[in-house]
């Protein structure tokens, strides 16, 4: 009883890094964030568990935010569920997906399905908006990083397009 009391009293003295912070600090979206800021972000993340074959989201469903894989595996699928679907990406620990939904209120362009027991961390647009209002400097950093990620993706897509055109 006494131990619990002291542990509670000095809980903020425990500076060991949480599991969530260890995972998110490696992501480009949260690059250049100090430990305090990472802790702040980790408080906003939603811890969700998915069974194998459970949809994280379906194609054309309204997108609200991005997911980070804490453990497990997720497939990103394009095409119809009726058969001619195609696995676009196989994602595992530390990968993230759905980050476009953080920037725009649009429907999902692909589906995401858990292929194993998975623990995902959700980071959603509404939380990012509140973060921008509460801590503008931190919100700004994340938005900048997000823009960098989108730019990198666009550059890669352009390169692939140019390569496909030159192959013709």
């Amino acid at each position: 009883m006494k131990n619990a009391y002291w542990a509670n009293l000095f809980k903020n003295w425990d500076k060991t890094e949480s599991e969530t912070v260890t995972i998110i600090k490696k992501l480009p979206i949260f690059a250049d964030l100090n430990n305090k800021e990472l802790n702040e972000v980790s408080k906003l993340l939603h811890d969700r568990t998915y069974k194998p074959e459970e949809y994280v989201f379906k194609r054309h469903a309204p997108g609200e935010g991005m997911f980070i894989i804490q453990s497990g595996a997720v497939h990103i699928i394009v095409g119809e569920a009726s058969g001619n679907s195609q696995v676009l990406a196989e994602l595992s620990n530390g990968d993230f997906f759905g980050e476009m939904a953080l920037l725009e209120d649009e429907v999902r362009s692909a589906a995401a399905i858990a292929t194993d027991h998975s623990r995902l961390l959700g980071f959603f647009r509404s939380d990012l908006q509140i973060l921008i209002e509460r801590k503008p400097a931190l919100g700004n950093k994340i938005l900048q990083n997000l823009s960098k990620v989108v730019c990198t993706r666009l550059r890669k897509t352009n390169e692939l397009l140019m390569q496909a055109q030159s192959d013709k």
Binding site: R48, A61, P62, E133
Partner: protein, 372 residues
């Protein structure tokens, strides 16, 4: 087989719902006051949340932001109540001295006789014993005093409720975002993103509505105060101008009925202050329409304030924050008023706004159910 299972599941859910509803009905009398306190704490924290969030972005400490906002609010309320109480006391003192020195009873009697004569010219009314009016008013004053004594008892309960609401509001403000996160975690995976969207939209709607209402109430209060000062410049002899303005602003929070309720204190003060004054009794609005005790002037002033507020201030400050049809507003007010009285009328429109947002999202959800 699967259809049978579905039916079983449906019956099981139905039984659970009935049990839950029955349980709630039994415990409701014990928890209703706490729930009301929580609803008020939620409403207050929704109004204050943007302020706390903004302050937090400046001084970078949530606890300090909550402390500053709460202390400022409490100080403002205390200053208001203190000056209101002293103002009321001054008014009462002046009124009682008026009764003693100016032959108030005679004036009131004379007024009653004049009123009776004037009415008889136009309407055929049975004889009223005008001499009895003063004693009736005396009885009424006695009743009022008795009511005030019983009111003192309920004030104790009110102070307790107010302190509890304040504590709940402080806790909610300090941990609002964490509370919300722990609540939404119960939403199943399939509906999670949709649930977050719904919560966010409802939150924004309520917050916009409440802040809009507060701004509109402030503008009505300020305009009423200016209007009352203008009336005073023309000789209306009104006192407690600031408080009448604030009460008019607060009354404005209740749509349709509020604006009229806001006029009453001004009319009351005008009559109380001007009884015995021949000039006030024979006053004419624009030197043409008889307006004893400036009553018509006051009504006209409040109508002008209402028009400016409805057509200029509210559309600019509040916009179409809730966007509910006037007929629906009226029905909501009637239902709210019948269910829980004036409080119901105050909460009717935001509650309808929440229902509208929830309904819109549910419609969107049912249309796109195959996507979840």
């Amino acid at each position: 087989m699967s259809q049978e299972k579905n039916y079983l599941q449906l019956i099981y859910r139905l039984i659970l719902t009935v049990i839950a509803f029955g349980f709630l009905t039994i415990i409701w009398p014990y928890i209703s006051s706490v729930i009301t306190m929580l609803i008020f704490a939620f409403l207050f924290s929704t109004i204050l949340l943007p302020l706390v969030d903004h302050l937090e972005s400046q001084i970078k400490s949530r606890a300090l932001s909550v402390l500053i906002v709460t202390i400022s609010l409490i100080s403002a309320i205390i200053i208001f109540l203190k000056s209101f109480a002293s103002g009321m006391l001054g008014q009462a003192r002046e009124f009682s001295s008026q009764i003693e020195t100016k032959g108030y009873a005679e004036n009131l009697n004379a007024l009653a006789v004049r009123l009776e004569l004037a009415l008889k010219k136009h309407v055929n009314i049975p004889d009223i014993d005008s001499s009895n009016i003063v004693s009736k008013i005396n009885d009424m004053v006695g009743d009022i005093i008795q009511n005030v004594v019983s009111l003192a008892g309920t004030i104790g309960g009110f102070i307790f409720t107010a302190i509890m609401v304040l504590i709940f509001t402080i806790i909610l403000l300090a941990n609002y975002h964490e509370f919300k996160k722990s609540l939404v975690q119960f939403i199943p995976n399939k509906y999670f993103e949709m649930g977050l969207r719904l919560v966010f939209n409802v939150e924004r709607q309520v917050s916009n509505y409440l802040q809009g209402q507060l701004l509109a109430a402030s503008s009505v209060a300020i305009m009423s105060i200016i209007g009352l000062y203008i009336l005073n410049a023309t000789g209306a002899n009104l006192t407690l101008v600031v408080f009448i303005g604030i009460i008019a602003g607060l009354a404005n929070l209740i749509p349709l009925v509020g604006p009229f309720a806001g006029m009453l204190p001004a009319i009351l003060v005008a009559v109380m202050n001007n009884i015995g004054s021949e000039a006030a009794l024979s006053h004419q609005l624009f030197s043409t329409v008889p307006s004893p005790f400036y009553i018509l002037d006051i009504i006209l002033m409040f109508l002008i304030v209402q028009q400016i507020d409805n057509n200029l201030v509210t559309p600019i400050l509040v916009g179409e924050s809730v966007g509910i049809h006037p007929l629906v507003v009226m029905i909501a007010l009637l239902i709210g008023g019948t269910l829980i009285g004036p409080l119901g009328m105050l909460l009717a429109v935001p509650a309808t706004g929440i229902l509208k947002v929830v309904g819109r999202e549910i419609m969107f959800l049912t249309r796109n159910a195959h996507l979840l």
